[in-house]
C-alpha cells in the first residue's frame, strides 16, 4: 500500500496520446495531497523511448510482443500484477477508447473502486467528475484503498504533464500472455484526401443547430471569407452533411486552432474533448444553457442564421 499515483500511459502507433499528459498533470496535483510519487506505467514492445517527456517521478515499463498494440485482454492481464503489487493510492486511465476498455474490467477483476469521467482533482484530493453531458459535476472523496480513475480532458493542460526531465525507467517483467482472446488485425487509416483541419489557424465549426445540409453553405461562405476551413460535430457528420474528415471530438479530430467558432454546437463532452485546447473558443447558440458556454471565452445567444450573412459581409469588408 502506497500513496503513489499511477498513470497508465496511452499510446497508439508510436505516439503518446495527448490524454496521457493530461492524466499526468492530474496525477501531479493528486500526488500533492496524497504525498506520494507519480509513476507512469507504459506497456508496449520496444517502446521504452516513449517515456522521454512524461512528467512523472518514475516510470514502470512492461515489454512484451503481445503488448505492441493495445488490446484490452493483454493490457488487463499485464496491469493487474503491478497494481496488486504496488497498491498505489490511485491508478489513472484515460476516459477513452483505451482506458475505458480496461479500467472497469480491472475494477471488477481486482475488486477495486472506480471513478469515471474525472475532470480534475481538488486540492484536498477529491475527484470532480463531469456527468450528464457536462451539465452536472460530481464531487467525492477518492475511494480507497486504490482508486481506479478514468479522466476526461478539460481540467488540465497537456503541457502540465510534460517534462524535459525524463523519468527513471524501471523495466518490469511481463506476465505470461497466453490464450489472449482479443487481437488487432489492422488499422484503417483515416481519409487524408480532405483538408487537414488540425492544421488550420481558425475553424468555423457547425453543430446540430445548422438544421440542414443547405445551411452549411452559409458556414462555407464565412470560412471562405476568413480563409479557413469548416469543421463539424458528430450529429452533422452522422447526417452525412459533412465528411468524417471534418469531425471534431472524441471519435474525430482533436484540434487547437487560434480561434474556434462554434455555431449551433451544444458542447457535449465528446465534442469538447476535440476542441477544448483551442486558443479562443467563441460559441454561438440560441440556448443560453448550452454547456458550450462553459468552455467558450466568448459567447452569443443570437440566431446564427441572423448572424452569418452579416458577419460574412463584415469580414469581407474588413479585409
Amino acid at each position: 500500500m502506497s500513496q503513489d499515483i499511477f498513470v497508465v500511459i496511452e499510446h497508439l502507433r508510436g505516439e503518446v496520446a495527448e490524454i496521457s499528459y493530461v492524466m499526468l498533470a492530474g496525477a501531479r496535483q493528486l500526488s500533492q495531497s496524497s504525498g506520494g510519487n507519480v509513476t507512469a506505467i507504459l506497456l508496449g514492445h520496444n517502446a521504452q523511448g516513449l517515456t522521454g517527456n512524461l512528467a512523472a517521478d518514475k516510470a514502470l515499463y512492461v515489454d512484451h510482443a503481445a503488448l505492441a498494440e493495445f488490446t484490452s485482454d493483454a493490457y488487463i492481464t499485464a496491469l493487474a500484477g503491478p497494481i496488486r503489487e504496488h497498491a498505489p493510492r490511485a491508478v489513472i486511465f484515460g476516459h477513452s477508447s483505451i482506458g475505458m476498455d480496461i479500467a472497469s474490467g480491472l475494477s471488477a477483476k481486482l475488486g477495486l473502486p472506480i471513478v469515471a469521467s474525472c475532470r480534475s482533482f481538488t486540492a484536498e484530493g477529491k475527484f470532480v467528475s463531469q456527468i450528464c453531458g457536462g451539465k452536472i459535476m460530481a464531487e467525492g472523496d477518492l475511494p480507497g484503498p486504490t482508486a481506479l480513475v478514468t479522466m476526461v480532458p478539460g481540467g488540465y493542460k497537456a503541457e502540465q504533464g510534460q517534462s524535459a526531465q525524463p523519468p527513471a525507467v524501471t523495466t518490469v517483467p511481463a506476465p505470461t500472455l497466453e490464450g489472449l482472446r482479443v487481437a488487432l488485425k489492422q488499422y484503417i487509416e483515416p481519409d487524408t484526401s480532405d483538408v487537414d483541419i488540425t492544421k488550420e489557424a481558425m475553424l468555423v465549426s457547425v453543430g446540430r443547430g445548422i438544421q440542414n445540409k443547405d445551411n452549411i453553405g452559409l458556414a462555407n461562405e464565412l470560412a471562405e471569407a476568413l480563409g479557413c476551413a469548416v469543421s463539424a460535430s458528430r450529429p452533422v457528420v452522422d447526417q452525412g452533411w459533412m465528411p468524417t474528415t471534418r469531425l471534431i471530438g472524441k471519435s474525430g479530430k482533436r484540434v487547437k486552432p487560434k480561434i474556434y467558432l462554434a455555431l449551433g454546437i451544444s458542447g457535449a463532452p465528446e465534442h469538447v474533448e476535440g476542441m477544448a485546447d483551442s486558443n479562443v473558443i467563441i460559441a454561438i447558440n440560441t440556448d443560453q444553457n448550452a454547456p458550450i458556454f462553459t468552455v467558450a471565452k466568448y459567447g452569443a445567444t443570437i440566431d446564427m442564421f441572423d448572424l452569418l450573412p452579416v458577419l460574412t459581409e463584415k469580414v469581407k469588408q474588413a479585409k
Binding site: N212, K213, D214, D238, Q239, D303, F305
Partner: protein, 659 residues
Amino acid sequence: MPIRETFWNIPHWAEITQYVLALLTAIVFLYGILRHVLRWRKGKPEKRFDRLGGRLWSFIVQVFGQRRTLDEAYPGIMHFTIFWGMLVLAIGTALATVDWDVTHLFFGFQFLTGWVYIIFELTLDILGLLVIVGLGMAIYRRYASRPARLQNFPAKALARDDAYVLIMLTLITISGYLTEGLRLAVTQPEWAVWSPIGNVIAAAFLSIGDPTNQALHLVIWAFHILTAFGVLAFLPFTKLFHIFSVPLNIFFRSMKPAGALPAANMEGGMGVKEWKQFTWKQLLDFDSCTRCGRCQDVCPAYASAQILSPRNMMIKLDAHLWDKNGHSLHGEVIAADELWACTTCRACVQVCPAFIDHISTFVDMRRHLVDQGRMDKMLQDALANVGRYGNSFGQSDRMRAKWTQGIQPPVPDARREPVEYLWFVGDYASYNATLTEITRMTAAVFQKAGLNFGILYDGERNSGNDVRRVGEEGLFEMLAEKNSQVLSKVQFQTIVTTDPHTYNTLKNEYKWDGNRPNILHYAELLDQLICAGRLKFSKKLGYKVTYHDPCYLGRYNDVYDAPRRVIEATGCQVIEMPRCRERAFCCGAGGGRIWMEEKDIKERPSESRIREAVNLEGVNTFVVACPKDATMYRDAVKTTGNESRLAVKDLIELVHAAL
C-alpha cells in the same frame, strides 16, 4: 320537304357491313370498359354515395359546364369546343340512328324532316366547325407552342396516344364534312344552304362532276365509318377513355371537408404497399388523369427541384395498374424522394379538372414508408421528439409556455379556470425562439381586446396535422387522443389557433363526438373582434402590403377574406400577388417538409414567393398568418437578399402596431 336520304349512294352490302362493324365495335368497346371497371374493383372499398344531390350538381357544373377546365383560358376554350362539338355530333349521330333504325324501321316514320331537319343540319354543321377550331388549337398547343407541362414525360407510347387522338378526331370530322359536301354536290337539294360548310365543300367538288363524285363519296364515307368505329372500339384503350373516367371521377369525388384526410389502411401493415391496397376511387383517380399538367405547373415541389411532378406520379401509377412485369410500387415505380417532396399544399388537387386527389395517395404511400421506418434522419428525430416530448423541437414540455414569462397579468391556465377562448398556441409559436415576440404580441392584443382567454401550458401537445401528413397515423392518433383528453377537462367556448395546420386538424380531423366547439384561426377571431368593435385602432399604418394565404387556411379551409379585412382595418392596402387566394404558392414547409432534409434544390418555394412579392410595385411588407410562414419567409428574404426591400410581418404585428 327537306330530308336526308339515309344511306344515299351506299350499296346494300356496305350498309350491312356497317351494321356488322357496329356490332364488333360495341363488343371491343364494352370489353375495354369492362377491363377498367374490373381493375377498379380490385381496390379496397370506399363509400362514395353520400350527398347524391351535391354530387349530381357538381357533375353538371364540372362536366357539362366544364367549370374548372375553363379556369385556364386557352386550354379551357380548346377543350370546351372539342367537348361540346363532339358531344353534339355524337348526339346528332345517335338521333340519325334512332330516326332510321328505330322510328323508321319499326314505326314507319322519320322525325328528322322539314324544319327539324334543317335545324339539325345547321347545328351539326356549325358544331363540327367548333371541333375543328378546338382541334386546331390543340394541335398548335401540343406541337407548336409546346408548353413544358405537356412535354417532359419520357414515354413514347404516351406521345403516340396524344398524336393518335388528335389525328383521329381531325380525320373523323373532316371526312364527315367531305361526305356531306360530296352528297350535296351530287344531290344538290334546295336546303343545302342550311349546311353552310358542307355547301362550300360541295361547291368545290361541283367542277369534278359525276360519277367521280359519287365514287369519291362512297370511298370517303367508308373511311369516315371506319375511323369513327375504330376510335369508338378502341376508345377504352386510349386517352379518350377519360370521357368516361373523368365524369365518373367527378361524380365520386370526396364530399368531405378538404382538410380531412382519409384514415390509413391497416391490413398487412400501415398504408399502401401495393396497388391493390388503394381504394377503388384512388384507382379511378389514376385512370382519370389526362396528363394535362396543370398540377405540375402549380406544384411547389416540382418548381423547386423537379423531384416530384404530381402529373408524372399519376401517369406512373396508372401504368403500374396494367403492368405485367411485377415492378414493385415502392422503389421501382415511385421513389421515396418523390413522396417526401410533397408539401401537401393542395394546389394540385385544387386545379385538377379531373378532380384527382393526389394527396391522399401520396400520404397513403408515405404511411407505408413510415411503417417500414424508411425516412430521413431529421424526420425520424422530429417524429421521435413529437412522440416523446409532444413537440418537434425536442424540448421539454415544461418549456412550452416559457414564452409567457413576465407577461402581466399572467396568461390564465385554462385547465384551472374556465375561459371563453381557449388558445391552442402550437409548437412553432411556443418553442421557436425567433417567434416568441410575435406570440407575446398576440397575447398582448388579446389582453387589450379584453378577451377572456387561456392556454393549456404543458398540457398542450403538437396537434398532429403534419405528423398525419407525414404518414405517422399511429402517432397522430396518440396526439389527438392526448389533446382531446386535456380539452375534455377544460371549460371553454371557442378554440383559437395560431397555426393554420393546427386549425385544420382540430376542425376537420379530431373526433369531437358530434360536439365540435367553435374553432377559429386568430385571423378570424381578430376579424370578429374588429367587426364587433372590441378591437379599435388608433393608427392608420398606411403600408402597402401583400398577403400570403397559408395553404391550410386558404385552400384547405376557405378562409381568404378575414385576414384581408384585418389588414385593411389597420389602414394598410393589400396588393395581391399574381398567385393569390386559391392559387397561392406554398412556402414549402407543409406536410412535414419543415422537418425533412432539403435535397438538391434549384429555388426554394419560399424564395420564389418572395421574388414574386418583391416584383409588386410599392409593396414593402409581406404579411403572413402562420408561424411556419414567418420563419420560412424571414429566411427567404435573407437568402434572396431582399431584406432591405421587404419586411416579413405577421398579421398580429400590424394589428399590434395599429392599436
